[in-house]
Symmetry: D2
Amino acid sequence: MSKKIRVGMIGYGFMGKAHSNAYRQATKFFPDLPYEPELKVFCARNEERANQFASNWGYDQVEKDWRKVVESEEVDLVDICAPNNMHKEIAIAAAENGKWVLTEKPLSMNVAEGEEMVTAVKKAGVPNMVWYNYRRIPAVTLAKNIIDKGSLGKIFHYRANFLQDWTISSDLPQGGEGLWRLDVNVAGSGVTGDLLAHCIDTAMWLNGPITEVTAVTETFIKERQHNITGKVEKVGIDDACAFLAKFENGSIAIFESTRYARGHKALYTFEINGENSSIFWDLHDLHRLKYFDHGDDALTRGWRDVHVTDSEHPYMDKWWVPGLNIGFEHSFTHGVADFFASAKSDKPAQPDFQNALQTQKVCEAVINSGNSRKWENTYVEL
Amino acid sequence: MSKKIRVGMIGYGFMGKAHSNAYRQATKFFPDLPYEPELKVFCARNEERANQFASNWGYDQVEKDWRKVVESEEVDLVDICAPNNMHKEIAIAAAENGKWVLTEKPLSMNVAEGEEMVTAVKKAGVPNMVWYNYRRIPAVTLAKNIIDKGSLGKIFHYRANFLQDWTISSDLPQGGEGLWRLDVNVAGSGVTGDLLAHCIDTAMWLNGPITEVTAVTETFIKERQHNITGKVEKVGIDDACAFLAKFENGSIAIFESTRYARGHKALYTFEINGENSSIFWDLHDLHRLKYFDHGDDALTRGWRDVHVTDSEHPYMDKWWVPGLNIGFEHSFTHGVADFFASAKSDKPAQPDFQNALQTQKVCEAVINSGNSRKWENTYVEL
Amino acid sequence: MSKKIRVGMIGYGFMGKAHSNAYRQATKFFPDLPYEPELKVFCARNEERANQFASNWGYDQVEKDWRKVVESEEVDLVDICAPNNMHKEIAIAAAENGKWVLTEKPLSMNVAEGEEMVTAVKKAGVPNMVWYNYRRIPAVTLAKNIIDKGSLGKIFHYRANFLQDWTISSDLPQGGEGLWRLDVNVAGSGVTGDLLAHCIDTAMWLNGPITEVTAVTETFIKERQHNITGKVEKVGIDDACAFLAKFENGSIAIFESTRYARGHKALYTFEINGENSSIFWDLHDLHRLKYFDHGDDALTRGWRDVHVTDSEHPYMDKWWVPGLNIGFEHSFTHGVADFFASAKSDKPAQPDFQNALQTQKVCEAVINSGNSRKWENTYVEL
Amino acid sequence: MSKKIRVGMIGYGFMGKAHSNAYRQATKFFPDLPYEPELKVFCARNEERANQFASNWGYDQVEKDWRKVVESEEVDLVDICAPNNMHKEIAIAAAENGKWVLTEKPLSMNVAEGEEMVTAVKKAGVPNMVWYNYRRIPAVTLAKNIIDKGSLGKIFHYRANFLQDWTISSDLPQGGEGLWRLDVNVAGSGVTGDLLAHCIDTAMWLNGPITEVTAVTETFIKERQHNITGKVEKVGIDDACAFLAKFENGSIAIFESTRYARGHKALYTFEINGENSSIFWDLHDLHRLKYFDHGDDALTRGWRDVHVTDSEHPYMDKWWVPGLNIGFEHSFTHGVADFFASAKSDKPAQPDFQNALQTQKVCEAVINSGNSRKWENTYVEL
């Protein structure tokens, strides 16, 4: 019999919905988990919308104040989908109350905050994880497995980008619900924390520590109407960011992110080139992995287009039959499954706060380099 | 407030799982439906597996005999995921008991059975539908919308195929759980009813009635071990089938299906060529639609690769954000949503039994033509 | 030292240009051939254009009457790029005069004509070839090599199509220069002889004899202005044709061709599915071959996208460096090279007239079946 | 009547072959040029190979010493396909002798040399061009035309890479024929001058001046056997180089090149993102241009895959029919055609030496930044 874990969810945005769905789905497709999540308390500031959300997803209670959630005796796990500037305070309070803690990425507004959070969960000894969900797209997990087998040989290159085009219009305001990602005081940074953080998390997971970076950051639209103040205010986030990086293993890398790449909705791609093999992945076709094996016969060698839907592929034995895709949302479903499967083991699901702090360090070095126009050390220790 | 509709589900295979999931998901992503499904009774012959399935998916009761389900006062809707040779008997009994009836495709073993089923649901006046789920992949629905606007002009060509490769090994047995699709007495036909039926349903939905066909059918492996009898028995199904067709609108078509196309898992593709525009779709990348518009400027004209994940796209406002795919399974979720949204309207969700009978007629003409080696009329009336 | 072979070229259309170029290029990229073509006499009816063409391509003489060419003592080889209805007469006269003979495809207007032509070249003992040029696209030659090694195992399926869209407008006239392909009296047939002939030639080269076919033919636009008579006349060609086929080796096939597939310029594709492997090719990306090997590791198995530009690939050691494509026109350059390399050997370059007659037989069976609406035998003997 | 221009060609490598072919082909496919090249003198050090090359391509004379060529009264134009370290001396001597001068890219070993060369051709007043051939791939020219019409709106991003994998083996020697590109004393730099120079030339042609860069350069294999000295020597070239850049128009960019990207033969790709539209091109499929137009209808908007083979497309009216590709080599054919068409006009074909010097400046800034680890100004003035 699995033990019930009562979830307190904070935040009803896109991620609140994605996580709530994941808790529900994980119990059905991964029926043998030692713990079973139960949607217990939902928390958000707008009472009407909070009630509607809670009712739809089956939460038993609604709270307006997150402190009630982290202190509630009916909550075992706190899941933070609130904006970035609230992660630290909520997470630390939750840990201090002995709750399991999950938070959306990035871990925090900056490294200093992240360090406090790591200290708190360590001290409390509570299971914790940050939702870098792309690790659990089956094709990405497959990439990790291939690399871990050593199939690529010595690695020379890594490249990743995350391209969007949704903020090109200068009429788009900043701030407030749905648009807090454009408000530097709430988001901490722009594309660096929102998008590159994903790329960096995957990159260090697949290819080890990044040791130094040099970056360019750009804010194409300098001022936008602010939804909360009602005034036209300076835009403080990075609209676009590109950086060069060196990895500890001697490989070199380029990373780029923007919300001004017309034609790309959420084009997260990465490629890794090794002595023997190369791998490419693209979020727009998330169920495919491109794999080139130089060991194939010279006449018929070419990039293999792997449709990652067979039961041999990571996670896919839980789903449908070969050829039938699963969607983006199951990266979260797999996150729930892995987190609960390992919550009390000595190999907890990653990235935990400690691990995600390393991504925070690279993000901070990138932002710093954008300002200093110099190479910056990352001080990462994986 | 939505009214509860208590579901009696018959069959725990791939489709039992897909449908159960769809009922659960529809209530969350389509919260405004007039009816809300409630998983009530589950029925399958293997008691242990039935109990496990029911427990996992949250059914209240388990039955071994489908007659108990269709007669139960606690069931409003009967969903038939049992093999093809049971569709008729269950559906008619369910209708006679006033239940709403949904059945997996194909409607029946043959046209004669299908006609009885249509008569039964009409007489009973109960909402009914056949699960030709591919109509509700957003990209396919988008194709329908484009065609309905008249964007293609006069249609010249239609082509579709459904290619798989899972039965190439002669060691694969036929019959029994998981393999009843190879047993002609249970399945009625091979790829024609299993795969081409999907292609035909979509084709007539998009392009109108098929009037005549000429086919070739082939059984590459003539004998296989039968899982139930334990004996090597003649294989009665069509392993592969291809046919030429004429549509009422003057366009001509090719269709092909096989389980012997090495490298293809579930490659359902269709293409339609009109005077002004053409459309192509592929199940392996189900979130994309290819669209060619001859009206585009000559210098930059080319097939457009539409990533069907924007909120303007059919169904997609219910899901995530642009660029993020949903999976195959939500073709069923959308089916549930559409069925309940229109169950009592004068425009019920399609294909209902009457509509699906037309696909059955084409399938039967195809099988007949494979035997007669002649062009066969389909007698379809849409 | 290579021996000069003096070429008499008849016809200045697209193919006259393509062949003239090929003779010039072959001598540069295949410098070790035993024979070296020399552009000697050019023949076409329009004197001004003939002079211009001859001057541009370096022919020494111009003739208006093809009889002068086939009888000229300064001509060793006659290359027929005149319309289909002239192939027979010119080819037989050339053979009777001891000339080497090459003709554009299809061999002839029909099987009866083709048989006369085969008899003539055999009697004369002159080297001969029909320009089914796609065999010599490097990717297609590679497909042949892979199949000949037995890599595919037992073959189950073959499918090919050749889709164009250039005759959709009803304003397009028929007949005369540039448009004789729409005039049945000059072309013999429509897409069957023009496009499907290519597909059939490749198919039987790769997969052996086709034994029977059933076809549908269609003429979408029934009447068109005739450029020569000036009158609106009935269109006698097939605008579109699709057929089912059986091969001697037990595989089944679909073929389709049309000039009404909006969005496709010259989409010749073929796919062959064997027990172990499958191959796909597409003229629109002629330098790529898709190859699926079921023997690859299950986790990383996928269609390989082979960029056929390495020196190991057929013909490619003669050209540039890996990654750099050659164009369509070099299928002819390779044809010249192969023809001259083997002109006097006991393994002459194929297809010679005898071999191309088999394709003519299938074309004729296809046209007949379009009329008879029955399966027709092809009587092919490869 | 066109005037004959007698060509003196220096160097028989890959480029000597490509250029010789281009001169021959241009006269056939562009028959109306005011000048007609005539292959007159060929020069290379290895006498036997030089004779063979000259004989094959039809040069009248052979010289071992390039000084004879630049001084010959029978030569009007000197084409330099010798290694980079010889460009300056030959080009200046040729100009001083009043010859027209073309040189392979990059212009020179460094900016200082390039400035001398520009001064020389200006002083002599002779037509001159550098063979940045990719500008004349029809799809790339089409990109230029689209951009020049202003279709993209304000430009935000440019990205380009040129990835190869041919030097991964440490057994590969450096130096001497075929491998001088690995010898820094002959090549000047590694991938920066060989590959990134192409990317930079195209980028500034399409998007204007690059103003500053920051780069990382890497030499993965530190020592290689030298073919000429016979000793294992330090490798002085950059095996890989990536850089960030700013353009004068405010857009930001990433560039990357390597010979260690397993699976890529000659993957030159570029993408440019504007407010309204985006464009992508890939040398591996050089006949295709991807174009995204945000102005398309929201429901059917997607990247258009333009098959650049219609007569409306740049240069393509000279070649075959829609759907039929031309090869890489015709980027040179088009270069010959454009150069001769405009040699005496006031709008000579670009890039001339002056224009190519700007690319040299960026290359030098990139190499400098790789050493200095700082942002470097480029001092480009287009």
